[in-house]
C-alpha cells in the first residue's frame, strides 16, 4: 500500500466521494479513508427522491456505488479504515490508521456526522432491543407492531413512512407543533392512516427489561406525563458532527461544528472541509456533493501553489 499521498480525504460519504472525483481528475494521488461503509449517512435512507438528475427515486447504495466507481475511474484509491489520529509534519500531514501511517500534502476532511441520542434513561441499555437509529435496517422486526419515531425533520418523516409499510401503527413524537420536514413528506404522513402525530411532546425515558416496552412521554404544553406502550422507538433527532480529529487544528463551535465560509478552507494550512461537519449545513446529498467539489477545487489551488 502506497504511504505518501497528495490528498487524503477523510470520510467516504457524498462530500468525500465528490471531492475524490475532482482530486482524481486533477491527477492528484488521492486516498479516501472511510471507517464504516462508503455512503455516509445516506445509507440509512430507503430511497432518494430529490437528488437532481434522476426522475425516478434512487436507492442510496446504487448512487454511492456509482460515485465509488466514478472516483476509481480517475485513479482514486478507496480504503476501509479508521483514522486514529491526525498530525502535522512540516507543511504536510500524517494520518494514523489501524496499523499504518500515511503522509499527505493536504487533507480534505469530510467525516460527516453520527446519530444524535436523547441521553434519556434506558436509551443505551435498550439500543438494539427495540431502540434503533435505522428504520430501513430494522423495520422487518416490527411487522404488525407498534412503533414510535422521534423527531420532526426529513429523516423522521421518511422513517415513519417506511415503517408504516411494516408496523401496525406508527407514532411520530415531535417536540414542536409543526414539522420542519419537506412539505411533500408532511403531506404523505398526514394522508397515511397508520401514522399519528404526538405533537409538543418529548420522551423522558425508555422503559423495558429485556426489550423496549414503553416510552415515558411528557406533553410540553400540559405537562402531563404518560407511559405509552411501544415495541420499537426510532431516533431521528438529528446528528452530531464527527470532528474530534480536528480539535487543536480548527476552531469548533459549542456543538462541535466547524464554522466556515464558502471557501471551505480552514485556519490550518492544507486542511479543507466539506459536508456535515460544517455549521449550518442542511443535510442534503446535493449540498454535500457541492461542498465536496468546492473544497476539492480549493485544495487543488493550494497544491498547485506548492508545485
Amino acid at each position: 500500500m502506497e504511504k505518501n499521498w497528495d490528498v487524503i480525504i477523510i470520510g467516504g460519504g457524498p462530500a468525500g466521494l465528490a471531492a475524490a472525483i475532482y482530486c482524481g481528475r486533477a491527477l492528484r494521488k488521492t486516498l479516501v479513508l472511510e471507517k464504516k461503509v462508503f455512503g455516509g449517512q445516506i445509507v440509512f435512507a430507503d430511497i432518494i427522491e430529490n437528488y437532481p438528475g434522476f426522475a425516478e427515486p434512487i436507492v442510496p447504495a446504487d448512487l454511492m456505488e456509482q460515485m465509488v466507481k466514478q472516483s476509481e475511474r480517475y485513479g482514486v484509491v478507496l480504503e476501509n479504515d479508521e483514522v486514529q489520529g491526525l498530525r502535522r509534519e512540516g507543511d504536510g500531514w500524517l494520518v494514523d490508521v489501524y496499523q499504518n501511517t500515511y503522509t499527505a500534502k493536504a487533507i480534505l476532511y469530510a467525516a460527516g456526522s453520527v446519530h444524535r441520542f436523547l441521553g434519556a434513561p434506558g436509551e443505551q441499555e435498550l439500543l438494539g432491543r427495540g431502540v434503533s437509529v435505522c428504520a430501513t435496517c430494522d423495520a422487518p422486526f416490527f411487522q404488525e407492531r407498534k412503533v414510535a419515531v422521534l423527531g420532526g425533520g426529513d429523516t423522521a418523516l421518511s422513517e415513519a413512512l417506511h415503517l408504516a409499510k411494516f408496523a401496525s401503527q406508527v407514532s411520530l413524537v415531535h417536540r414542536r407543533d409543526q414539522f420542519r420536514a419537506e412539505k411533500i413528506l408532511q403531506d404523505r404522513v398526514f394522508k397515511n392512516d397508520k401514522i399519528r402525530v404526538i405533537w409538543d411532546s418529548e420522551v423522558l425515558a425508555f422503559k423495558g427489561e429485556q426489550r423496549l416496552e414503553a416510552l415515558e412521554i411528557r406533553n410540553k404544553k400540559t405537562g402531563l406525563i404518560e407511559a405509552m406502550a411501544f415495541d420499537g422507538a426510532f431516533l431521528a433527532i438529528g446528528t452530531i458532527p464527527n470532528t474530534e480529529l480536528l480539535r487543536g487544528f480548527v476552531k469548533l463551535d459549542e456543538n462541535g461544528y466547524v464554522v466556515s465560509d464558502i471557501s471551505l478552507r480552514t485556519e490550518a494550512k492544507g486542511l479543507f472541509i466539506a459536508g456535515e461537519v460544517i455549521k449550518g449545513n442542511r443535510r442534503q446529498v446535493a449540498i454535500s456533493v457541492g461542498m465536496g467539489v468546492q473544497a476539492a477545487l480549493g485544495c487543488e489551488e493550494y497544491l498547485a501553489a506548492l508545485d
Binding site: G39, N80, T136, D138
Partner: protein, 106 residues
C-alpha cells in the same frame, strides 16, 4: 478461496458446531448498511479460509434464528465458537474492526 455462505433456519445449526470461529451476519434486503458491508465480509472469509467460517442469515427468511439470538437491529454480527456466542458487533463496521474483534475472541 472461502466465501460467505448463505444459511437459513433449516440448516443454521449444522454450520455453527465445531471449534472453528463462525461469524454470522444478520441482514435484510432493505438494510443498506448491510449491503455495503458485504464486500468486507467476503474479504474476511477469503483471509481466513481455514479457521473462520462466515455465514449470512436473511432475517426475513429466517425469523427463528434471528429470534433465538434476540437480533432486533441490523446489521448484527455474531461471533460463535463451539456453539456459543463469544461477542457481537451491532451496526456497520469495516473489515479492520472485524479483524480486530476476531483477534480478541479467537
Amino acid at each position: 478461496m472461502a466465501e460467505v455462505i448463505s444459511v437459513n433456519d433449516g440448516n443454521f445449526e449444522s454450520f455453527i458446531q465445531g471449534s472453528r470461529m463462525v461469524i454470522v451476519d444478520f441482514w435484510a434486503p432493505t438494510c443498506m448498511p448491510c449491503q455495503l458491508m458485504e464486500p468486507g465480509l467476503e474479504k474476511i472469509a477469503a483471509n481466513h479460509p481455514e479457521n473462520v467460517r462466515v455465514l449470512k442469515v436473511n432475517v426475513n427468511e429466517s425469523p427463528k434464528t434471528s429470534s433465538r439470538y434476540f437480533v432486533r437491529t441490523l446489521p448484527t454480527l455474531l461471533f460463535i465458537k463451539d456453539g456459543q456466542v463469544r461477542t457481537q458487533i451491532i451496526g456497520a463496521v469495516n473489515p479492520g474492526q472485524i479483524e480486530k474483534t476476531l483477534s480478541e475472541v479467537s
